[in-house]
C-alpha cells in the first residue's frame, strides 16, 4: 500500500508569530459568547508502562486539554490524551468547577475517545455541539481554544486538502482534513475542536507550527466512531487485509491482462485470515471497483464531497465491521465480483502488535533474564526516532512481520535485558535476542516459555536464541533459590506477568 508521509509529530503548538491579527468570524464568535461554550477543560494525569522495567510504571505525566461536549453528556477527546491515564478530570471553562470523568470508549487507531463525567449533572446548561459532516476543500474552519479567563479564542483556517493519511497509531489510513491555520499556543492546546457554523467539523490530530499546517480527524471518522460507540461491543474500524499497487505502468497492465485505459489497482499481497483472503481475493487480481465505486489506476474513486480520494476511505469511514462490500475485480482478464465481509483487525491479531496501551506489558523473569514479547509499543521506547534507534533486527521483524510470519499465530519472544546476578555472570551484555527454544521446546509466546522453563533438562534451563550466542544455560535450582534476592535487589514486585 502506498503510504503518505507524515508531517510534523504530536500536537505541540509553538506560539505563532503574532503578526496576523485574524478577524474572527463575527457571527460565530458572537453566537458562541451568548451561551455556555460547548467546551470543557480536560486534565489528565497518567503513567505509561516502563518496557525496560516492565514490572513498573514510569513517572506520572499530566496533560491539559479541551474536550468537545456532545449530546447525552459525552465529551469527545483524542485517544492519545487519555491513553495510560490514571485520573481524568473535567473542568468547566467559565466557573472552574471540576469533576472526575471516566473513559467510556476509546479507539486508539482512529485516535478518538469519549469521556463521561462522574457527576451526571456536571454538563447541565451546556448546549452540546452538533456534528457537521460536509466539510469540503475551501471551507473555513475555526479552531476553538480557551483563554486562561475561560473566554473563547477562535482562529480561522482554510481547508486545503482532504486525503487519506496515517494516524499516530500506524494502522491503516484514515480520512484527514489538512488546514492552513496560524494557531497560537494556549495551555490546553491538546485536543482542539475545529468548528464550522457552530458545529463540530473535526478534532486536532497534529499541528506543525513551522508550516502552520494542521491535520484534523474529520467529522466522518468521528461520526463512525460515535455510531460504533452506541453499540454494546465497540468493534473499531474495519479493514479488508490486502495491499495494492497502482496500475499506471502499461507493461504491468498488459501482464495482468488489462486492456485499454481502464482503472483498477494490482493486489500485491493478501494476508492470511483476513476478510480479503476469506473472500478469495488473490495476488495479481486487479480491483476495479469497491462498493460500486470505480477505482482509477492510482486507487482513487470519485467521492461526491471530495472528488478523487483513495478507495480505502470506502472501507474505513463509510463501512462497518460486518458489512458486506462488493469488490469488482479482473482476474486473468476476466471480470469477477467478490463479496468481502469486513472485519476489524484487533491489535492482538498481529505477531508484533502495533500498539499495546492501557494494559501492563507481559514479561517473565528467569534468574535475571527478562523475557518479553515483541511489539511496536516495545520498540517505541526508543523514542520518536525508534525506527532508526531501536535494535534494527527487531525493527525489521516488526516491519516485515506479515512477510516473515504469514501464519501470524505466534508472538516473537525476546530476551530483552539481563539483570546482573550470581546466576547470570557472563551473560550481562546479552540483550534483544529472539528466543527460539527453551529446554528443547519451541517458543511462540511467553506462555510457551513459562511452561517450558518449568521442565529443566537435568537441572539446567537451556535457552536457545536465533542470534549469537545461540545458547544460554541456567541452573534451575539456583534460579529458584536466588529469586527472592533478585526481587529484593532490583525492586521487582513480581517475576512474571502473563495476563
Amino acid at each position: 500500500m502506498l503510504r503518505q508521509s507524515l508531517i510534523g509529530f504530536g500536537v505541540v503548538i509553538v506560539a505563532a508569530s503574532g503578526t496576523l491579527a485574524k478577524k474572527e468570524p463575527a457571527v460565530e464568535a458572537a453566537a458562541a459568547r451568548q451561551k455556555q461554550l460547548a467546551l470543557v477543560r480536560v486534565n489528565v494525569t497518567g503513567q505509561s508502562y516502563d518496557y525496560f522495567r516492565p514490572w513498573q510504571k514510569k513517572a506520572p505525566f499530566s496533560k491539559r486539554a479541551l474536550g468537545a461536549v456532545l449530546s447525552k453528556g459525552r465529551v469527545l477527546v483524542t485517544a492519545d490524551l487519555v491513553t495510560n491515564q490514571n485520573y481524568v478530570e473535567l473542568e468547566r471553562a467559565e466557573s472552574g468547577e471540576k469533576t472526575a470523568a471516566n473513559v467510556q470508549v476509546i479507539d486508539y487507531e482512529a485516535n478518538l475517545a469519549l469521556l463521561e463525567p462522574a457527576e451526571k449533572t456536571f454538563l447541565d446548561g451546556i448546549t452540546p455541539l452538533e456534528i457537521t459532516p460536509d466539510t469540503v476543500v475551501g471551507d473555513r474552519l475555526a479552531a476553538w481554544q480557551l483563554e486562561p479567563t475561560g473566554a473563547l479564542l477562535a482562529t480561522e483556517g482554510l481547508v486545503t486538502t482532504v486525503q487519506m493519511t496515517t494516524y499516530p497509531i500506524d494502522v491503516g489510513q484514515f480520512l484527514t482534513y489538512r488546514i492552513s491555520i496560524p494557531m497560537q499556543y494556549r495551555e490546553n492546546s491538546y485536543t482542539v475542536p475545529l468548528v464550522k457554523n457552530n458545529k463540530l467539523a473535526g478534532l486536532l490530530l497534529r499541528y506543525d507550527s513551522r508550516s502552520q499546517l494542521l491535520d484534523a480527524i474529520p467529522a466522518p471518522v468521528i461520526t463512525h466512531f460515535l455510531k460504533e460507540a452506541e453499540s454494546k461491543n465497540y468493534r473499531g474500524f474495519p479493514s479488508a487485509g490486502f495491499s495494492f499497487f497502482p496500475t499506471r505502468d502499461p507493461q504491468l497492465r498488459e501482464f495482468s491482462g488489462e486492456k485499454g485505459k481502464a482503472g483498477g489497482v494490482y493486489v500485491t499481497n493478501v494476508e492470511p485470515g483476513t476478510p480479503a483472503m476469506k473472500a478469495d481475493l488473490q495476488v495479481g487480481d486487479i480491483v476495479t471497483a469497491v462498493a460500486n465505486n470505480e477505482i482509477d489506476q492510482n486507487g482513487n474513486y470519485v467521492d461526491p464531497l471530495y472528488g478523487k480520494i483513495e478507495f480505502t476511505n470506502l472501507l474505513t469511514a463509510h463501512a462497518y465491521a460486518g458489512d458486506v462490500v462488493p469488490f469488482h475485480i479482473q482476474r486473468n482478464g476476466k471480470p469477477m465480483q467478490l463479496n468481502v465481509t469486513l472485519e476489524h483487525r484487533d491489535a492482538k491479531d498481529y505477531v508484533s502488535p502495533p500498539y499495546y496501551l492501557d494494559q501492563p506489558p507481559r514479561y517473565y523473569v528467569v534468574g535475571g533474564l527478562i523475557f518479553q514479547e515483541l511489539s511496536r509499543q516495545y520498540l517505541k521506547e526508543w523514542g520518536l526516532n525508534w525506527q532508526r534507534e531501536a535494535p534494527q533486527r527487531l525493527v525489521y521483524l516488526d516491519h516485515f512481520q506479515s512477510e516473515l510470519f504469514p501464519q501470524r499465530n505466534r508472538r516473537v519472544v525476546i530476551l530483552s535485558q539481563v539483570l546482573p546476578a550470581n546466576g547470570t555472570i557472563g551473560y550481562d551484555d546479552l540483550a534483544y535476542l529472539t528466543v527460539t527454544r527453551v529446554n528443547g521446546k519451541e517458543i511462540k509466546s511467553l506462555d510457551d516459555l513459562a511452561e517450558a522453563v518449568k521442565q529443566p533438562i537435568e537441572g539446567f534451563i537451556k535457552i536457545e536464541t536465533e542470534e549469537d550466542p545461540k545458547q544460554i544455560e541456567l541452573d534451575a535450582t539456583q534460579v529458584a533459590a536466588e529469586a527472592p534476592e533478585l526481587q529484593e535487589n532490583y525492586g521487582i514486585s513480581s517475576l512474571q506477568r502473563l495476563q
Binding site: 502506498l2 495491499s243 499497487f245 497502482p246 499506471r248 505502468d249 502499461p250 507493461q251 504491468l252 498488459e254 501482464f255 494490482y266 500485491t268 499481497n269 525506527q387 532508526r388 535494535p391 534494527q392 533486527r393 525493527v395 525489521y396 516491519h399 516485515f400 506479515s402 512477510e403 546466576g423 547470570t424 555472570i425 557472563g426 551473560y427 551484555d429 546479552l430 540483550a431 534483544y432 535476542l433 539446567f460 537451556k462 542470534e467 549469537d468 550466542p469 545461540k470 545458547q471 544460554i472 544455560e473 541456567l474 541452573d475 539456583q478
Partner: protein, 534 residues
Amino acid sequence: MKRVLIAIFVALLLSPILDAQQSTPAPPPLEPQVPQRPGPWRSSPPAQEVVPVPVPIAPPKPNGPVQRSLVRITATAIQPDYRAPWNAGALERGVGAGFVISGNRILTNAHVVANSRYLTVERDGDPNKYPATVQFIANDCDLALITVPAPDFFKNMLPLKFGGIPTLESTVSAYGYPIGGERMSVTTGIVSRIDFQLYTHSSVDQHLAIQISAQINPGNSGGPVMQDGKVVGVAFQGYSGDVAQGVAYMIPTPVINRFLKDISNGHYDEYPDLAITYAKLQNPAQRRFLGLKDDDHGVLVSSVVAAGPSDGILRQGDVLLTIDGHPIASDANVELEGERAQFEEVVERKFKGDSVKFDILRDKQPMTVTINLYKPWPYSVQGHSYDVRPRYVLYGGLLFQPLSLDMLEAYRTTDLRLRHFFEYFILDQIYLQHPDVIVLSNILPDPINTYLAPYRGGIVDEVNGKKVRTLDELANAFAGAPERLVIRMIGDGPPLVLDRNKVEGARERIKMRYNVSKEQNLDASSELAQANKI
C-alpha cells in the same frame, strides 16, 4: 584476525589520515558519533591487554637522518562513482608519506595509494619528482609497497630497519608531511595503548594497533614512527579532532612483518580467518552444562560461517579448549610469549594455506580438529573495495548493482530491508541464497520506465520464474530475454514487467541521453591483482 560486523556509521569514527592539503575535494568532515551498543552477536569485545612485549627501557637514542629515508608521495586517484558506475569517477589528489626499506622498496599505507592512477615521490634535497608504481597493496591491513623505477633513486637513500613493539609510556617520534607546511615534520609522543582496533581503510578488519600521543595529521599517513633509530610503526589513522583529541594510531611491526612475509611469494594473499563467532564461557552453570571443569578454560562456538574454513569442522555448541597447544581461557585469551592476547592472534600470525589445530569438547567428548585457513569471500561485501570497477547492469534505464558497503554509502540508503540484508549478510547466511544481493539502485528516467520509480531499492529475487543469484545470472537473463521479462523482487511488491522490444528500442536513446559509455561491468577482478603477480 577478528572480524566483526560494524554498523556503517560507527566506522566513521576513525578515518585514515590521507592528506587534505591538496586533495580536491576535501573529504567531508567527520561527524562525532556516539558509539553504538555492539550487536547482540558480538559477545566478545576485543581484549584489552594484547601483546605488550617488554622491551628494556633504554635511554632514547637519536633516530638519525630520517630525511634520507623518508619520501613524500603524491597520489592522483580516481574514486569510483557508484551512482554512475560507467563513469571513470572523481579525480582526487592526496599527499602521504612513505619510507625506504630494504630491497629498494618504499613502504606506505594502502589508503595513500589505493585507487591511484599516477604516483610521484619526492625526497629531501632533490628537486625532482619521480614517477612510482605500486608493487603490493594490502587493503585489509592498510599497507602497501611502492617502488621507483628510476635507477639512481635509491642510491643515496638509507633503508630503515624495524624494531619491536615499544613499551607503554615510551617515547616515539612520527615523521611525515602533514598539513601546515611543505617540508618534513616531526612530532613526538608516548605509547598510550596497545590493542586490537578496527582498520578503517577496509572498515571490516581488526588487527593489533598502537595508540600514540604524538600529533599525527593528514599527510602523516604512511610515515614511519621511530624509536631508537628503528621503525616501530606506520602512522595510519586517528580520531578527528571533534570526536577525541590526541588519539592517533600506528600499525605495529608484527602486522608489517606479516605483510612483508606474505608478499615474499610475489602475491598478497590477505589474512585468513576462522569465520566463526564465539561466546566467552564465564557462567558456572553453563560450564557445568557443557561438561567443563572448573578451570577457567574454553570458549563456546556460536556460529560457523558456511563459506569459511571452519565449516564442517567446527559446529555450534563446540567448546574450543586449545589453539595450537595454547590453552584458551574462558575470556578468549591465550598466553603467547608470556603475554595475554585474544586467541585469534594465533590465526593473525598465519598465512593462507597454513593450518590451525584446536582441542575441542563436543557433546562432552574431547576431540582434536585441524582447520586449513583461507579468507572467506563474503566479508568483502561488508568492507570497502579498492582498485576495482563497480559491477553493474543497466537495462532499460534500470541500474542493478550488487549490495556492498561502497554502494550503500554512495546512496546513503535508510531502507530497512537493504540494511538488514547488508548487516546480516554473513550471520544469517544470506550469501548462500544471494551471493550477490542485486539491488535496483537507480532509474535513469525514460518513457519506458516512467512508472517504475516505486520499484527502486528493491532486491531482485527471480526473473521469469528463475531465481537470480548473481549479477552475471541477471545479465544472462537479460541477454536471452524472451519478449516479456517479469522481475520479482523480494517481499510483497508487484512484479516489474518489461517489454524486451521496448527496452531494445530505448537502449541507444538512454545511452545517449545519460552519456552511458558501457551498459554493464561484470568483471570483479581487481585491477591490481595482475600487477601483484608480476
